[in-house]
Symmetry: C2
Subunit: 374 residues, 2 copies
């Protein structure tokens, strides 16, 4: 399982999000990516999923974009007579969000055209290929929105202040008949190289929740997104990764803090844990060791549970496992079958046409959220 | 007044934050800037305020940092035999926060070593020279912290969703004897080229409030930080800037939204407006046109009020005006004198040793906050 996630992560870092590399001419209907900084025209995307880049660096010798499968492991830009570097991916990219960076004369920099997203242990450039189902994370004008707040807490085990991002639903805190409603909580973890901002920014977790609540598909709940202490883990050591430090921070420090400072329902059957990629590894390790804390478990491109690892179908109310169709669907399908056969309430989801990237996980959150706390 | 702010802004953009350019050797006690990305050693700062940069770009022809007053309007880095570009500012920088960027082979990019801060209408690199009074915005472990939340609202006049950042004090929303406390609100504006995130990130507005509240220096209040629609204003047209569009968004849309969705005291004597630089220009224009909305006014490196512009000392309870000692202290001092002579409750503050930059404004917020809503 570790090896599969590792593979998924390596594939992601190589930027191999090509749907296919056909070498034909892209349709000339390019528009600016929605992840661009204000007023920035480039990068652009077309209706087929091709991406086009434009970088000003008149005296540079070489500019390569880490997306696409060109000869140099990316899209090699060409300089025109005005000193502007441009280039288009050789084929369409998968729909959804992709991290990338530029290699300029051998140094790694961000594209000044885009906002920045924390991935690969640093702020990276990002581009969005419009997905057919992008409405699930659309920012709608005519609905009530919750908010995502930056929450500071002290971690004794880390010896320093930590930041968690907390999604609160639109009705949070309102006084009704002299009482304030309490909400269940999903602890939702990012992947390797990401941090507490990733699910909100590139994952659109808040917008997904707002839409689900507005459409009456779920009862409101809180999402807590903490930094999973994963950035120092090296690929060579992922097999030895225990998530013990994060377990201490999460169970002994963050959850008590959240239950003290927010209007939570503070018991196992109102608490879920899920994570993507290495956040799934953390989720599996911690839920198996501390089943008294979480009643709902989710692994998003983050491995699978086996019935013999859990041993007791009554300790978990619902298990969600997912991945992209370009990852390891067989592994998910077999695991879910085995869990069901052993009496677990488990569901699998294969995200069509996506790999180890955020569209897989946005879709996963959208579906999983509808099954939690029931 | 417009001209002075314009000058201040131009000076800022040229990165002229030198305390002095002595040309002597800096003390070799450099440590990583606290604005660096996790695990990044460079940029570094020493105890005298010198900054040192290190950029990997082995095949580049030229790397220039936009900070300091070297021969090329910045600090020109030199390449060593390993292809690493390094350089130190010619003299110490002013204490506090400085935006900067790199010019690599004629193109503008960010330093991959630092977090990004929205300024100059784009995400820029940032560096922090430790200030003698940095405790006022320290992130303390042993106090209660409020939070800053990203709040979405629809603006009919803009025809789209807008984001405001809202600081809520630690006690916000708590139920006491079946009631929830209501709070005054400060509407706090960023400068030209910045946005709704700037006061929280580079201004540390939330930490300043947490510290003031923890130390019993103020009664808690809410701060709303909205995007002031200033980024499309060109320097050539600043003299014609009316802030009319922002007035509509602020008065007709945002304030009603905030008063509906947050526990505010929704009247003039519990509402303040202040802003830095062009946010001060907005504050002056809007408070003078709409004195019925705001009872406390603050201009931070953003011009001055004249008694004959206000005409009535009873329409404003308190006026705060400030700037850095390297800006226009005379203008502030004369204005405050004239306001006082005309019967206004006005105070001025000159930030020692700082220019048109964020340490001036952090200090200003710290002082101004102690005088609001009294």
């Amino acid at each position: 399982m570790m090896k599969r996630i590792l593979l998924g992560m390596v594939v992601l870092f190589m930027g191999s999000s090509f749907a296919c590399a056909q070498g034909r001419q892209p349709k000339e209907d390019f528009v600016s990516s929605i992840m661009n900084q204000p007023g920035q025209e480039y990068p652009m995307v077309n209706s087929e999923g091709y991406a086009r880049f434009r970088i000003m660096a008149p005296d540079a010798q070489s500019v390569i974009v880490s997306l696409g499968l060109g000869g140099s492991g990316g899209t090699v830009l060409s300089k025109d007579k005005d000193g502007v570097w441009t280039g288009t991916t050789e084929g369409p990219l998968d729909p959804g969000f992709h991290y990338y960076h530029l290699t300029i004369d051998g140094g790694v920099f961000n594209d000044p055209g885009t906002h920045n997203y924390f991935g690969s242990c640093r702020w990276e450039s990002g581009i969005e290929i419009p997905a057919p189902d992008k409405d699930i994370y659309a920012c709608r004008e005519n609905i009530a929105h919750g908010n995502i707040q930056e929450t500071l807490f002290y971690s004794p085990s880390q010896g320093k202040m930590q930041t968690a991002m907390v999604y609160l639903p639109p009705t949070y805190g309102k006084l009704e008949n002299g009482k304030q409603e309490r909400f269940p909580v999903l602890y939702l973890q990012h992947g390797w190289g990401e941090n507490e901002t990733s699910w909100g920014k590139q994952g659109h977790a808040g917008l997904i929740m707002d839409n689900l609540i507005a459409d009456g598909k779920i009862q409101p709940f809180i999402i807590v997104m903490a930094y999973g202490l994963t950035n120092n883990v090296k690929f060579g050591t992922i097999g030895q990764f225990t998530a013990k430090e994060f377990e201490t921070l999460l169970i002994d420090e963050l959850i008590p803090f959240i239950d003290q400072h927010f209007l939570t329902k503070a018991d196992k059957w109102n608490r879920a844990m899920a994570g993507l990629s290495m956040g799934g590894v953390e989720t599996k390790l911690i839920t198996l060791r501390r089943p008294e804390v979480f009643g709902y478990w989710g692994l998003l491109s983050g491995g699978q549970y086996a019935p013999e690892e859990i041993k007791d179908p009554t300790i978990v109310k619902y298990i969600f496992e997912s991945c992209g169709s370009k990852e390891n669907p067989d592994g998910i399908n077999k695991s879910v079958e085995a869990l069901k056969a052993a009496g677990y309430n488990a569901e699998g989801f294969i995200s069509e046409g996506t790999a180890h990237e955020f569209l897989t996980w946005r879709r996963s959150l959208y579906l999983m959220a509808q099954k939690l706390f029931k």
